[in-house]
Amino acid sequence: MAFDDAYHALTDHDDDARWAYGTGFTDPLAGVPGDLPDGVDRAELATYCLMLGDDALILSHRLQQWVTRAPELEDELALANIGLDLLGQARLLLTRAGVSEGWGRDEDDLAMRRDPSGFRNLCLAERADADFAHLVARLFALSTWRLALLDRLTASRDPMLAAIAAKGVKEVTYHRDYAAQWVVRLGDGTPLSHERMLAAVDTLTPQLAELFHSHPTEIGLASVGVAVDPAALEAEFTQVWTHVLQAATLLPPATSLSGGTSRGNFVAAESSPPGGDAVAAEVSGVPAGAEQGSARPWGRAGEHTPALAEILDEMQGVARSVPGGVW
């Protein structure tokens, strides 16, 4: 590609090397067989791919928002690179979702033309970060959870999910290391950094139950060896979470998790379970949230906080205002 004329270079359309939405990105699964394993419901597999893909897509966007705002240039590079890895995982998973549902939607359609209620990401991925401590606490929690999940998903009966997971495991391993090292550095740092890291962890902890609250799609696909039931991840998550928080002096060294501390035992300690249970509570005559605090939205079921709509306004703005635009 010649660069003596910048406009010519931009419009050199004999290849796929153009850069923005709608400008000829090729299918990231180009040439990969789209077969589905026997006995797997297409719609359910598509929904599951959306769940894991949307987690990556939305968190990636949140990380990108930190570029130019991180404390040091090195951390902007780190967050941008982690965001890029997650965006790559999202592209593979959304493409797989499109193939599975069989309606002809591609990754761009799914990323850019869905409303908030169509997104299946965890609400934890969409929240805004009050400060850098909140960012690294949230990134640590989601990376720890995602690594435990992807590690198990490498044994999926769906060869595409297994392959995407095997690739992702290598990446999320260093995402988790990066975030955990910051949690320790701030927690075990100055009195001020300790205080702010502790505040971030205390804000985050009540939101972690969502990570282990299984959706019927996850349970159903896990029972046929395709998906991972997130409830099975809590023990490993708790072990890593406690280990790092202790190293960060944010938990006393010998805390017993079975004792139900305020920063462990996430599901048991949660005061208000997400959506499904709140509905059940309403049916049984107890108004949702009346005694247990307000119900939390359940991202896996398409219920979200207002933060997701804000993200999508920004992320989908160009694609929605210039549908199919090419430049």
């Binding site: 040439g31 590079l77 982690i82 965006l87 435990a148 095997a166 690739k167 090292q181 890593v240």
Partner: protein, 164 residues
């Protein structure tokens, strides 16, 4: 035609590490040639590698210029790429360009993946002076595959391709 299709594809250089050919980087899985054309199978280094789009285009362009007809480039992601697939000549060229080549990729043990709460104590030799006791400046460099290190002997910063 100049050379076989595999030679033409293998000689295409990586857009982000232009001192390396795709063969040296270890991303070419298969080049199959028949009367219908050439089928090239490649694998991405990282899930989000932004160079994949231009690598596909560069392969097609190189094959067209070398006189081959229809060319198709397919992607496979399993088994995942590892830096262990970078060839010996690739490692030498990286070092000559001032980028410390990767060591052996970590071997996965049975059980949960261990967490690292401090920078990994990998021994990375300075590509300028050969001093081995270098330190990490930042775990992420200009791309996801490179970290920034510093040599206390010659006091120069340098990039190191991380092992994955």
């Amino acid at each position: 035609m100049t050379g076989t299709a595999a030679e033409v594809v293998g000689a295409v250089t990586d857009p982000e590490l232009p001192m390396l050919t795709l063969a040296e980087l270890g991303v070419i899985r298969e080049v199959r040639q028949d009367e219908g054309g050439v089928l090239v199978t490649i694998t991405p280094t990282y899930s989000g590698c932004p160079a994949m789009e231009s690598i596909r285009a560069d392969i097609r362009t190189a094959l067209r210029r070398a006189g081959f007809g229809r060319a198709e480039v397919r992607t496979v992601i399993a088994p995942p790429w590892t830096t262990d697939w970078i060839s010996e000549s690739g490692r030498r060229k990286l070092a000559e360009a001032g980028i410390a080549p990767p060591g052996a990729a970590p071997v996965r043990a049975i059980g949960p993946i261990p967490i690292s709460l401090s920078p990994r104590p990998t021994a990375v030799a300075c590509p300028r002076c050969g001093h081995t006791d270098t330190e990490t400046l930042a775990a992420f460099g200009a791309t996801a595959c490179r970290e920034l290190r510093r040599c206390p002997a010659c006091r120069e910063p340098f990039e190191h391709m991380r092992e994955i």
